[in-house]
Amino acid sequence: MDAKELIARRVARELRDSTLVNLGIGLPTLVAHYVPEGMLVAFQSENGIIGFGSRPPDGMEDPNLTDAGGGFISALPGAYAFDSATSFALIRGGHLDMTVLGGLQVDARGHLANWLVPGKMVAGMGGAMDLVAGARRVVIAMQHAAKGTAKIVPELTLPPTAARPVSLVVTDLAVIEPTPEGLVLRERAPGVSVEQILALTTAPLILPDTVPEMTL
């Protein structure tokens, strides 16, 4: 299983029945493939739809129906299309049970940076600041480290996305939960040791007595 699939499968275990969930562009999108059998989750795409499905059959693509990255999608029976003010009223108003976003850095207090690398990459925050400020649960899905450089750090060196800490961080190595006491290491990826995780994490981690392997 590659790293992205592992992360997506573990994040999918955070899904709950009859909830509304937003998936960010990129890796988070993969989570939709691993919804547990029999569970009804409504996925929101912030460009204006609840209840979208995967890419339509060849030749059936509609230029008026895409995800937030501009990729063709389909709509499931019972879908709902809406404008951008409604989209963010749903997000900011606390109607979103969960959002899954990518991350560039998470710090020891659970703060996220994911939209700007000064002097290098100016992406823009898009919907990320509203999502972190407004969703009930914010789950970060990201590689644990970038080419050997830690992304889970004592203090953000990149501009923060919000003042509010995220709820959970899922990486290819670990599941980490920000708490008022600090970052708690909750789970290890299959075959990964606590030592391996600590070696690629510069933020202090609280280690419970047992750190079980992820169930996928």
């Binding site: 795409s45 912030e46 460009n47 204006g48 739809i49 509609d62 230029p63 008026n64 129906l65 895409t66 995800d67 937030a68 990255g69 501009g70 709509a75 299309a81 809406f82 404008d83 951008s84 003010a85 989209s87 963010f88 997000i91 900011r92 990459m121 100016v122 992406a123 823009g124 925050m125 898009g126 919907g127 990320a128 600041m129 509203d130 400020a133 407004g134 501009p159 923060p160 996305t161 919000a162 003042a163 509010r164």
Partner: protein, 217 residues
């Protein structure tokens, strides 16, 4: 009843230096024919307000490529390297606004509200220079309304009164912008007789639309 205009006529109504709202999200729901006509007429110095700058050669991206834009107010430029290059080279200004805040600022501009009080952006660079209002112990940023000289919209259907519908995710910022500009130009995919769109399905009433562009042939 309206008389539909050409994309070229529409582009001629957008003066150099104007502030222009452009509907669309990564080019989906953007008025592509009017944008192409703006490039063809060599528009210059525009301030463009939209969700993003799409990608090179597409949507708002064609205006960026052609050097029509002096400044843009958007939430995302991450998928358009040309925007990033021009920003870094100092050829274009970019004001980044959180997407939900951008939507509400445009809505406030159209709805006659004095501003938007949002928790989004608190504790980030978005807060710089802005008033923080504490309401019942919680902090909110005061964000100003946005209006423009012109709004360029895409819609799915228009009837002869210029009542509009939108389609699926091509709706996005279009109905908000229809409320927030002095001149509103809509580019439809289809034109239908009055009465074909039921009152409950109209999303933008014709009274808000100044001009309708001919349907494509």
């Amino acid at each position: 009843m309206r008389k539909a205009i050409s994309a070229e006529q529409a582009a001629a109504m957008v003066p150099d230096g104007a502030s222009v709202m452009v509907g669309g999200f990564m080019g989906v729901g953007s008025p592509h024919r009017v944008l192409a006509a703006l490039v063809a007429r060599g528009a210059r110095g525009l301030t463009v307000i939209g969700n993003d700058t799409s990608r090179a050669g597409h949507g708002i991206g064609v205006l960026i490529d052609a050097g029509c834009v002096a400044r843009c107010i958007v939430s995302h430029i991450g998928l358009n390297p040309v925007t990033q290059q021009k920003l870094i080279a100092g050829e274009m200004e970019v004001e980044l606004v959180p997407q939900g805040t951008l939507a509400e600022r445009i809505r406030a501009g159209g709805a006659g509200l004095g501003g938007v009080l949002t928790p989004t952006g608190i504790g980030t660079v978005v807060q710089d220079g802005k008033q923080v209002v504490t309401i019942d112990g919680r902090d909110f940023l005061l964000e100003k309304p946005l209006r423009a000289d012109v709004a360029l919209l895409h819609c799915y259907e228009a009837d002869y009164y210029a009542n509009l519908t939108y389609r699926l995710t091509a709706q996005n910022f279009n109905p908000l912008m229809a409320m927030a500009a002095d001149l509103v130009i809509a580019e439809p995919d289809e034109v239908v007789p009055i009465g074909v769109i039921p009152p409950d399905h109209v999303r933008t009433p014709g009274v808000l639309v100044t001009h309708l562009v001919k349907r494509p042939h």
